[in-house]
Amino acid sequence: MAQFVADNLAVRFGEGVQRVSDDFGDLTVWVDRSIVHDVLAHCKRDPELRFDFCMDVTAVDYLGLGGNPRFAVVYHLYSLSTGKRVRIKSGVPESDPVVASATDVWKSTDWFEREVYDMFGIRFEGHPNMKRILCHQDFVGHALRKDYPADLRWKNPRPDDLVDEISPQEMERMQARVRKGLSD
């Protein structure tokens, strides 16, 4: 049990840490949604914690369990140097499903967050490319929500040209290269 992780977060964030549990040997820290990004950045940069891996980002829809707020985003962090793991959870209400993106903390959260958006409709603010990833772009609804029927499927009517994933800076760089003249 990584008690020092819980203590460290409690000292740093005080009231923001809502609940700490150690069920099944997995340390779980519930934090307020407004400080999720700060907590994650602290987890990575604090010299005591050093959670250098963000192994996973996912979400749970607590609709069937009467959860309030309805969703929870779940981060699984791992520290290579201390060998400890922690699960950061934060409740997300259905009316405003937005969480701050952690893409500036770990690059690995890029696709994980896109998957959560795709499956649950939770948007990550500040994500460079908040777009569906596993389902096609014409998919309606979010498949892992508990009120989404399991047998409902949508046709994919068109291929995705992916041009919208090129950021303006990238586009400028590519066009500059074209203007300069390509090699053949």
Binding site: F53, M55, V74, H136, D138, V140, P157, D164, L182
Partner: protein, 454 residues
């Protein structure tokens, strides 16, 4: 817009918040297509959108602002060298990649949604289809997670058999990876050497479980059944033959000038970058990080076996090849030691609410029959809670995050697929490479579409 068909009436589907496209050219219809309100719920009502209309829509979408000047090459979703259905769109300058964007999801089968509709035991065959190159390792990963939630420890014999078959599956996974990577690079002979070893392991798995590929041999609480009487001899025969095949590939390839020219310095990645991108498994170890869950957080007595973790230095394609070759040898060492120390005894926990009672008890005792009945009709009852359990699979950390509400079915299962993290940075790291390097890189990352898309 095709969906504005008179036959299609809005329904009460949850309407998503409109999300404008972030940058780039606006979508031809003006709005993001997935913000469209409500299509009918029934599949029958959605028939009627004809293929011609799809094609018209396609043509409207082919205007790419750069296609005038740059060659746009779509690699995949179905391409002989891609080993699965994924697509990379490349903008090329000559043969050099200026920009590459991957698109995944072609093999998305809603593993997580389907798992929520099945009893805990019946999810096991679905896990086979994640990384289908080493299905048994996925069984182990999933069963370990559920066993953690149940708070049980499986018998020693079951643990050892899981280790033996798991390590053989890892060898199989690496053999396929190395073999197909080499055949993509034009070295066909090695493919036969590698696949011969794989076939021999398949024969063992077939003998053990009845299936060559989708074994579904793991069970919550142990194994499907005990191994057959000749199991040890078969494994020992394989232990003798496979090092020969590995050495054959080694002698042909490791110092091969053409292979080195095509792989050394291709997609190198520093250790810091790899960690930041969430890489695990052989690809991470090739970058010089000795993180192997079997060593770092040993399960099933991995710490009692004598073996080592090979690491690379630069993390390029060549290092990944070397790491995989050495890992196969180390895996065989583990198998040998586990086999020498294979205890007798049951392979399932002695708890009739988890593992089915023996047939004798089912037919002759009322307790046995009731237990059997309840297992078949209600399934394993898992206490409420949530766990994250992780194992070292063929490609790295395979994590299962389970949420149980105390019933006979999972409330939520999330699979942390190693490929998903590894494949993320393919876009940025391909830039500056040649087209032919894509083949080498894709093969060496060992992206398994089943695991990537789930």
């Amino acid at each position: 817009m095709v969906f504005k068909d008179a036959a299609l009436s809005p329904q009460e589907m949850p309407v998503t918040t409109p999300v404008p496209r972030q940058h780039g050219r606006p979508h031809p219809t003006g709005t993001a297509p997935y913000a469209e309100p409500a299509l009918p719920k029934t599949i029958a009502a959605r028939r009627g959108v004809t293929i011609e209309r799809f094609l018209i829509e396609d043509i409207a979408l082919t205007e790419d602002p750069l296609s005038e000047n740059m060659v746009v090459l779509n690699i995949g979703p179905n391409h002989p060298s891609m080993h699965g259905a994924f697509r990379i769109k490349c903008w090329l300058d000559g043969e050099t990649i200026v920009k590459a964007i991957p698109e995944i999801g072609y093999l998305h089968r809603c593993f997580e949604k389907m798992s929520e509709l099945h009893p805990w035991q019946e999810v096991v065959p679905y896990t086979d289809r994640l990384n289908y190159m080493s299905p048994f390792l996925n069984n182990v990963g999933y069963c370990m997670a559920v066993e953690k939630l149940l708070g049980i420890e499986i018998p020693k014999r079951a643990q050892r058999i899981r280790v033996i078959l798991g390590e053989l599956s890892r060898v199989m996974d690496h053999l396929v990876c190395v073999g197909t990577n080499l055949v993509d690079l034009g070295a066909l002979t090695n493919f036969w050497y590698a696949f011969r070893g794989r076939e021999e392991i398949y024969s063992i798995l077939e003998h053990v479980s009845g299936a060559r590929m989708m074994v579904a041999y793991g069970r919550v609480g142990g194994l499907m059944r005990d191994v057959h009487p000749g199991f040890e001899d078969e494994v020992r025969a394989v232990l003798k033959s496979i090092p020969g095949y590995i050495d054959d590939v080694d002698r042909l390839i490791t110092n091969n000038r053409i292979f080195i020219d095509r792989t050394r310095g291709i997609q190198p990645l520093s250790a810091t970058e790899a960690i930041d991108w969430g890489w695990t498994g052989p690809c991470l170890r090739a970058c010089g990080v000795p993180y192997d869950i079997r060593k770092a957080h040993p399960y099933y007595d991995y710490d009692q076996f004598d073996w080592q973790v090979p690491v690379g230095t630069t993390g390029d394609v060549y290092d990944r090849y070397l790491v995989r070759m050495e890992e196969m040898r180390q895996s065989l060492r583990i198998v040998e030691q586990a086999l020498d120390d294979l205890p007798d005894g049951p392979v399932n926990v002695d708890d009739w609410s988890i593992s089915p009672p023996p047939k004798d008890a089912v037919y002759n005792t009322i307790e046995g029959m009731v237990a059997h009945f309840k297992l078949v009709f209600e399934g394993v009852q898992v206490p409420p809670g949530e766990v994250y359990s992780y194992t070292e699979a063929g490609n790295g950390e395979l994590g299962f995050y389970l949420v149980s509400d105390g019933g006979g079915q999972p409330y939520r299962i999330h699979c942390r697929a190693p490929c998903f993290a590894i494949y993320q940075n393919i876009g940025p790291t391909l830039e500056g490479h040649m087209i032919s390097d894509i083949v080498a890189i894709m093969g060496s990352l060992n992206i398994i579409a089943g695991e990537l898309d789930r």
